[in-house]
């Protein structure tokens, strides 16, 4: 087993290198001069003389060949130096450490809400298949799945503003300084995220439960006269939940990257909106670090989920 884990982790390296090289190349191919942007500023009010531009480019190391830049960046990363943001002048690590907690908290809240609502919904839907309740739950979950998140979030905001005079939080309070306030500020985007992911999970749960419920051993249990609870919980649920756990784990990875729209609409300074901003300002060091981080977390989560799988299902053995 250990050998398997080590082998998987070795496989990380080519993927990470490929992902980082890809984003490096993409950013360099993007039209636009970083130095010009920095000098001209967000309002376009600054003036940029050729000398100032040349100087800034040399300062930022942009006048060297791309391959050299990439290798020197790789070298920095290996020495745990993620660079300095072009836009703010602070280290990338500082910037990320300010924004990451928000996104992670958002993702966690969404996952918790999802689990509490979606899994039972899927179970109920499966047990009472083709009843009106089932249809209702299926329609709701398809709605959650298909309605674009930015639309539902926009509707939600409209409702909140007109009915409750709500405002997007102007200053986010930290979780530890004021938990209640913090939760009320983040609850709405979390609910929106949970709406979508809950739909995915509940459909998955439903189809897994349906499959399991058709198995022979379940029919045997029915026939034996065991109560509903015993049948469902003891026999069916455990097996059904396996793939659900898988999806949940993967969804977490998707969530962290996928908060872009939510953070844009609810104006939260998290990783998602930071990505969009960095693309816009061509803040290469930041973007590269974020992509590296996201790719890494995706791979790690995949590995953890596979291991979890093996732990839960004794038939699976990794060599």
């Amino acid at each position: 087993m250990r050998a398997y884990v080590l082998r998987r982790m070795l496989m990380f390296i080519p993927v990470l290198i490929a992902a980082s090289a890809l984003i490096f190349a993409l950013m360099r191919v993007l039209p636009g001069d970083v130095a010009l942007m920095i000098l001209v500023g967000p309002g376009g009010e600054g003036q940029a003389s050729p000398e100032a531009l040349a100087k800034l480019r040399a300062d930022l190391g942009l006048d060297q060949p791309v391959l050299v830049q990439y290798l020197s960046w790789l070298n920095d990363v290996v020495h745990l130096n993620l660079g300095t943001s072009y836009a703010s002048g602070r280290t990338v690590v500082t910037e990320l450490s300010q924004r990451l907690p928000i996104t992670i908290e958002l993702a966690f809240l969404a996952i918790i809400m999802t689990m509490i609502v979606a899994v039972p919904a899927g179970v109920v839907s499966a047990i009472r298949q083709n009843t009106r309740l089932d249809y209702l739950l299926r329609i709701v979950s398809v709605a959650g799945l298909t309605m674009p998140t930015f639309f539902t979030a926009t509707l939600l905001i409209l409702l909140l503003v007109t009915a409750f005079h709500w405002l997007p939080p102007i200053e986010l309070v930290g979780l530890f300084s004021n938990p209640v306030e913090n939760l009320t500020q983040l609850v709405w985007p979390a609910v929106m995220l949970a709406f979508y992911h809950g739909a995915v999970i509940s459909r998955m749960t439903r189809s897994q439960m349906l499959e399991v419920l058709r198995q022979d051993y379940v029919r045997t249990a029915w026939a034996k006269g065991l109560g509903e609870r015993l049948v469902v919980v003891r026999h069916a649920l455990q097996n059904a939940l396996l793939p659900v756990v898988t999806i949940a784990g993967l969804e977490f990875g998707v969530l962290v990257g996928g908060t872009v729209v939510m953070e844009t609409i609810f104006v939260l300074p998290g990783i998602g909106s930071y990505i969009v901003e960095s693309i816009r300002t061509r803040d290469y060091p930041v973007l590269q670090a974020i992509i590296l981080m996201l790719a890494c977390s995706y791979l790690v989560i995949n590995l953890l989920v596979d291991l979890c799988y093996a732990w839960l299902d004794p038939r699976i053995r990794y060599t």
Partner: protein, 583 residues
């Protein structure tokens, strides 16, 4: 049983959501505690609070201050009458909309930098932000200039100290101007070229600075009086050039105590400010609010007291809401130099042909743009977008490109195009940035040009790609936002229309215009300078160098407690020395 538990979980989650909704903060009550603890109005202070006249710096003898043109109908200055008591105390709150990453004033390129931390510093001279916009002393008590207009001597006020206690000297001023013109490594300086006329600077004593220009520059004083030309401390920046990116150490009336980019910037009053009696406020607080609906909501609920100050103006709908709900918010209007312009690529066909350009001019209807894209909140302007320097409006609005096209105009335009060989029309690409105003205005222009068979493909792109595209000139028409902080022809005409000007993306070039622009820059007599500028403008219009379409009317909302503050981004109005809260 499981079924029941599941149902219970579902309904409790629903209940949770509803409860959370109920707990969502309702309209926060306007914070009651913005006044200083002991409202100064009534009893305590032994010395009477200074009257407005006492507080304002008086224009000093020596050379009479240059009076920059006042934009009509600008915010009507209503200085408190001598009988009204100025109250001290209170915190002024405002917002700005983008994340300001560093507060180094010399690198700053957005007015928002000035608004959040600019009041921590002084300039050598400043504009009278109380509404007359004359150039008055700041750090320099008086200044003189030699008759040839090339050597300036500034004498600084005494007793000026930096926030960390170190005394200010003229070396700091010399260092700052030097730093702007020749920035050190790691510091970008967007205004370096605007003072490249400085030949040498001397500091004969700690209170005097002598500057000698290489050529006469009529705009020199207006430029160094503008907001970004802050004097920054030599003793800190010599050792560490990047030290003031994340904190502010200046000589100004406020000290920045908290700077969290993207969140909030807070300042408190500087008790040792060299102008005795100022400032009146206890402090300032600027929030970063990125979403425009939230910005307006913050104003309505009094979480912020002002707009303007480098943040956005109000939209006509928001103005409607304020009037409809009869909110006690003062509305002020001004025209800024901020506008949108169509840049024409003069280096290649089809637009290098004057006939084609004249055809475009005949089809343009800027009033329609203003009516459709900004609901009438703007006025038609020429290449010189500041009224007092531009040609008379009566004359301008009769010329093609600035008037309503008649059927004859459109027919004439098509004829010109046919003459130039474009009987079947022209297809061209127009890059623009992705801001809402640009997208709206350009769509109206697109429609107007379509009427004569010119098919414009709009290409909105982000800033980096946009400037890149402008430089590469792979377009026929471009769309540029113009905004200069200083309403001086040197800033508004030279970079855009002089051959190889830094913002002359279309590479327009006319030797007559170049001559006139250079001449006006060296002309110290105002009347003569105005003549030269107008002459240049007429040529620009005649040769159809480009188009200006300015929806430049700004609506500013201030809660009525706010007094002594007149927003006007043209003069970098951000200083809050004389602002006070009437509460």
């Amino acid at each position: 049983m499981v079924y029941r538990i599941s149902r219970l979980l579902i309904s409790s989650s629903a209940a949770f959501v509803l409860v959370a909704a109920a707990c969502a903060p309702a309209t926060p009550a306007p914070p009651a505690t913005q006044a200083a603890p002991a409202p100064a109005s009534a009893t305590v202070s032994p010395a009477a609070p200074p009257t407005p006249e006492q507080a304002r710096p008086t224009p000093l003898p020596g050379r009479a201050p240059v009076a920059p043109p006042v934009l009509a109908p600008g915010p009507t200055p209503t200085p408190a009458s001598a009988t009204q008591q100025i109250k001290r105390g209170g915190v002024l709150t405002g917002f700005h909309q983008t994340v300001i990453q560093n507060i180094d004033m010399h690198s700053g390129s957005s007015l928002q930098v000035l608004s959040i931390a600019g009041s921590s510093y002084n300039q050598i001279l400043q504009y009278d932000y109380q509404g007359t916009w004359q150039i008055v002393p700041d750090l320099a008590e008086k200044w003189e200039v030699t008759p040839d207009g090339k050597t300036f001597t500034f004498t600084f006020a005494k007793g000026v100290k930096w926030h960390d206690g170190v005394p200010f000297t003229s070396e700091d001023a010399k260092f700052s101007l030097d730093r702007i013109a020749h920035p050190p490594k790691g510091i970008a300086s967007p205004r370096a070229s605007s003072i490249d006329s400085i030949q040498k600077m001397e500091t004969p004593d700690p209170n005097t600075l002598k500057i000698t220009l290489g050529t006469v520059n009529a705009a020199f004083i207006p430029i160094i009086a503008s907001g970004f030309f802050k004097i920054m401390p030599r003793h800190i920046l010599e050792k560490d050039p990047g030290a003031l990116k994340t904190k502010a150490v200046g000589t100004g009336p406020f000290k920045v105590i908290k700077y969290e980019p993207g969140v909030v910037t807070e300042s408190v009053k500087n008790p040792d400010y060299f102008v005795k009696g100022l400032p009146y406020l206890d402090g300032t607080k600027f929030l970063t609010i990125r979403d425009s609906a939230t910005q307006f909501a913050a104003l309505r609920t009094k979480r912020v007291l002002i707009t303007g100050q480098g943040s956005r103006g109000l939209s006509p709908q928001e103005e409607e809401v304020i009037k409809r709900e009869k909110l006690p918010i003062k509305l002020m209007y001004y025209y800024s130099t901020r506008g949108q312009g169509v840049v024409i690529n003069h280096t290649q066909p089809p637009f290098n042909d004057l006939r084609v350009r004249k055809a475009l001019a005949l089809a343009m209807d800027p009033q329609e743009v203003i009516d459709t894209a900004v609901e009438g909140q703007g006025k038609v302007i020429g290449p010189m977008s500041v009224d007092e320097w531009g040609m008379p409006r009566a004359e301008l609005t009769k010329l093609p490109g600035y008037r309503k096209p008649s059927a004859a105009d459109l027919a004439e335009a098509k004829k010109l195009l046919a003459e130039a060989g474009y009987k079947d029309g022209i297809k061209t690409v127009m890059p623009l940035r992705s801001f809402e105003i640009e997208v709206k205005v350009s769509q109206v222009l697109q429609q107007q040009l379509a009427r004569i068979g010119v098919n414009v493909q709009l290409r909105p792109m982000d800033d980096a790609a946009f400037y890149d595209s402008m430089e590469r000139r792979d377009w026929g028409l471009g769309f540029l936002s113009i905004s200069e902080a200083i309403g001086d022809p040197n800033m508004l005409l030279l970079p855009y229309w002089k051959t190889n000007g830094s913002r002359n993306y279309g590479k327009f070039s006319d030797p007559e215009v170049d001559k006139l622009l250079d001449a006006q820059s060296a002309e110290l007599n105002e009347k003569k300078r105005l003549e030269l500028v107008q002459k240049a403008e007429r040529i620009l219009v005649d040769k159809v160098a480009g188009f200006e379409v300015t929806p430049g009317k700004y609506i500013v909302g201030l809660w009525q407690e706010v007094k002594g503050y007149f927003p006007h981004d043209v003069y970098n109005s951000h200083r809050l020395d004389w602002a006070w809260l009437d509460q």
